[in-house]
Symmetry: C2
Subunit: 336 residues, 2 copies
């Protein structure tokens, strides 16, 4: 959940800071995964993850309905558990809000939170409110469970394995761009009605994302355990870089294999935006990036929610994308 205007500013500083402090703290402690393991003795693992959402950066309440926001915060919180192949179980929620929020507004937010927790069978085991002088802030802490032999980390990929993504990429960010555009139109002339005809899918992908839980079930039914996995909230390019960094490997992906919805492609084209850039760097896709062994290709090739977008290479080959017209570019993380 990122504001379009902030997408280009943050990453360098963030990567630099993270690298520095992870080294200081000890890389074993922060091992680069979407969730941390709580317990290491038994075969059944308890894992947990945490997330922080702040108004103006992660969401804009001038077009984000509070009920949808509550729903999306839980979706985003659960993603880290799914990305380790886990089942989400419990969540604690801390909310800071200023006195501009009426009780009805808080009800809306809580209704979205409760709806999403109910849908994905997550128990709310902690809830706290406090004051804020700076808009709405929500932090969550989510636990899950996963069997030892099914747990998937960022760093399990091997050379020549296939790189897969779930769902489609870029639609959510295209939705965000449309919402931002209509906000500017409205601010300039409040009598203008927003023009959202035919773009419901894009708006829904941004405002009310769902989790790719079913795809994990499908993989499990086909006896496939991904060799590595990562959530795509922060964009495909940065996701691939994290994943390759963790395994000290390279990758090659193909522009024409990226699952971009035709609607997103066309709407972005109207705005003179290249859909591939958004699919790579927009973020906001609550989808999974994972690798599988080549032998598993036959099992997944007919699953329509999974796209094979490339393969893992040696580290020295770098991280590359091959374009439609067969040119090669290095992947650079722009999302965060």
């Amino acid at each position: 959940m990122i504001n379009t205007e902030n997408v280009q500013q943050q990453p360098v500083a963030k990567y630099k800071l993270l690298g520095k402090y992870c080294k200081l703290i000890g890389s074993e402690q922060i091992n680069g995964n979407d969730a941390a393991i709580i317990e290491t003795k038994n075969k059944h693992k308890f894992i947990y993850t945490s997330a922080l959402f702040t108004e103006h950066i992660d969401f804009d309440l001038s077009y984000f309905p509070l009920k949808h926001l509550g729903y999306k915060v839980i979706v985003a919180s659960i993603m880290g558990i799914l990305a380790m192949n886990g089942s989400p179980k419990k969540v604690r929620i801390n909310i800071a809000l200023s006195n501009r929020f009426s009780e009805n507004a808080i009800d809306e937010l809580m209704n979205g939170i409760i709806l999403c927790c109910s849908k994905y069978k997550v128990n709310i085991v902690g809830l706290d409110f406090k004051s804020s002088v700076s808009g709405l802030i929500i932090s969550t802490s989510t636990t899950g469970e996963v069997e030892l032999e099914k747990i998937v980390y960022w760093n399990g990929a091997k050379e020549n394995e296939l790189i897969c993504v779930t769902g489609d990429l870029g639609s959510a960010y295209a939705g965000l761009i449309l919402l931002e555009r209509e906000k500017k139109v409205f601010e300039a002339d409040p009598t203008q009605q927003p023009d959202f005809i035919g773009v419901d899918y894009l708006l829904e992908r941004y405002l009310k994302p769902e989790l790719p839980s079913e795809i994990l079930n499908t993989l499990s039914q086909h006896n496939i355990i991904p060799t590595s996995m990562l959530n795509l909230n922060n964009g495909l390019a940065s996701g691939l870089i994290y994943l390759c960094d963790a395994s000290k490997l390279g990758c090659t992906i193909f522009e024409d294999k990226l699952p971009i919805e035709i609607l997103a492609f066309e709407k972005l084209k109207e705005l003179n935006i290249v859909a591939t850039t958004i699919a790579l760097n927009g973020g906001e896709d609550y989808e999974l990036l994972f690798t599988i062994k080549q032998d598993d290709y036959e099992k997944i090739k007919d699953i329509k929610e999974i796209s094979v977008i490339g393969f893992i290479t040696s580290e020295s080959s770098g991280r590359n994308i091959i374009t439609h017209d067969n040119r090669q570019f290095e992947l650079i993380a722009q999302g965060f």
Copy 2:
């Protein structure tokens, strides 16, 4: 960690909201404790808690050194684990900051975090940075372990049991009041030097609190397991009310048994503030409130860090404080 100006405004709304949503979600899910149990099958329990800290509400960077803030955030995060008689193990930290924070400033904050984690043997297993348009925001998610037979909840107290607190109460909030006073003096006339002579102890209690971990070890060595326990971050009065609510009981405490340092008493008196009010409602004390069986009194009466301040009564007797001059008042939660 609360701003003096906000201490009176929040509680009613907060208690109302919490009551409402806890009922909606189901009281079994949010069962009123400082941490939640992750796992319920084995004898060894994993517990976790979460916390959110926001600038201007929880801390004022005009007088709060960033290194101390980092330290205090971890102390505050660990308290919920201690309050269930657990040992803290791991923490995940999410930090949102604006571009007014230099890398040196972030270093200071992280140094405090790392120092405190190292002192209390807590591993940092997650760290993330993001942008903020509204100052510094820190959220934490902390796990711990506790043996099944040693776990302590809010709701275990019984009638006639003794009410105890660790350490002293009100010193930290007195420190906060002094810091706020000197800030106002400085704002009115920047040539004025702050007058902090002889109040180091009060400032330290606010700016660099330590955890009462040793007292839990002492209790364990004396084979005492508290019957109920709660952390006092939000003030003694609200803590007693939570604890009595959880057990459907009443309490009587005695003003002259409250452990108030003479320095806090005198400094507050100079400011025309009644120390008892601050001890009851100030909050900011990283101390524990707990109940023990009467039979355990002999074992704890000589432990100087523990004060017996009253006893548990039936619910119909209410929650009361007996003053120095033998008058009785109902306890009202003003802290949050």
